[in-house]
């Protein structure tokens, strides 16, 4: 197996200085908005619908638009490609919660759900990155860094060929 950390993981804390309060406020607003929608829907349409909306991609329009504006379309595509793995983790989160609620104290359940999301989403990401996992063609995207420009580089980039 190749050195996973070099190609699949990295941290750049300096990027925090480039995040504007406006961007954070937009994300806060979307997060608050979907929470209100989920809660209201739960009251009007029932808990199942309210629960479904907890996994609605409300933040995606703001996030991807901001990324495309700063780093280009390719970076936005890569970002949403990663969200597929996060979405798989969300299913794991919900399955663990559905099993553990009423069996364990609520705080333990929520921590377990978060652990399940982390393990599954990062696990699938690593397996996919190491080409140990095949996903249906419709969810495949190119891995960053290989054979073409770094999608994290600033500036507008055209769609990949």
């Amino acid at each position: 197996m190749s050195d996973v950390s070099d190609s699949l993981f990295g941290i750049d804390v300096a990027k925090l200085s480039k995040v504007s309060p406006r961007e954070l406020a937009i994300r806060f607003a979307f997060g608050a908005g979907i929470s209100v929608v989920s809660g209201s829907s739960g009251i009007v349409l029932g808990s199942i619908v309210g629960g479904m909306l907890l996994a609605f991609p409300a933040i995606a329009p703001a996030t991807l638009t901001l990324i495309e504006k700063k780093d280009g379309n390719t970076a936005a595509v890569h970002d949403v490609g990663g969200a597929v793995f996060g979405g798989i983790g969300l299913v794991a989160f919900a399955l663990v919660g559905a099993y553990l609620f009423r069996r364990l104290p609520d705080p333990v359940v929520l921590l377990s759900c978060l652990a399940a999301w982390s393990a599954v989403s990062v696990g699938v990401y690593v397996l996919r990155g190491e080409k140990l996992l095949s996903l249906p063609a419709v969810v495949q995207g190119r891995l960053p860094g290989c054979r073409r420009a770094d999608p994290d580089a600033p500036g507008r980039q055209g769609p990949p060929r």
Binding site: L24, S38, P57, E68, P144
Partner: protein, 114 residues
């Protein structure tokens, strides 16, 4: 608890957790890994915690069961978005993404939850 107050608390905590996970997504790289945090359970964690505390475990359990289908719809929507964002740009692409989520979620609601 007053329903309006409960919604306000859910909004505040949900928004705050979204910001936390967004900041994590900002510092990690590459973009594909950062995208994982774009589908973080920030809203779910915040809201389920408040629901469990304010309305009880059974309600949190019901909402979590609904979230299973929501998560499946999220995977489908993100898969659609890989194509739609590339072809249509982020704004229109995510509109298509949200529409895909609604379709899959609606089908799941009808088929699996009676």
């Amino acid at each position: 608890m007053n329903p309006v107050l409960l919604l306000a608390v859910r909004a505040l905590v949900g928004g705050a957790l979204v910001v936390v996970f967004a900041l994590v997504g900002e510092v990690v790289k590459p973009k594909r890994f950062a995208g994982v945090f774009g589908a973080a359970p920030s809203v779910a964690l915040a809201n389920l915690a408040i629901i469990a505390a304010a309305e009880g475990t059974p309600k949190a359990l019901h909402e979590t069961r609904g979230m299973i289908a929501g998560g499946v719809a999220m995977v489908a929507a993100c898969a659609v978005a890989i194509w739609s964002v590339r072809r249509l740009g982020a704004l229109r692409g995510t509109a298509v993404m949200c529409a895909a989520w609604l379709v899959v979620a609606a089908v799941a609601r009808v088929v699996f939850y009676r």
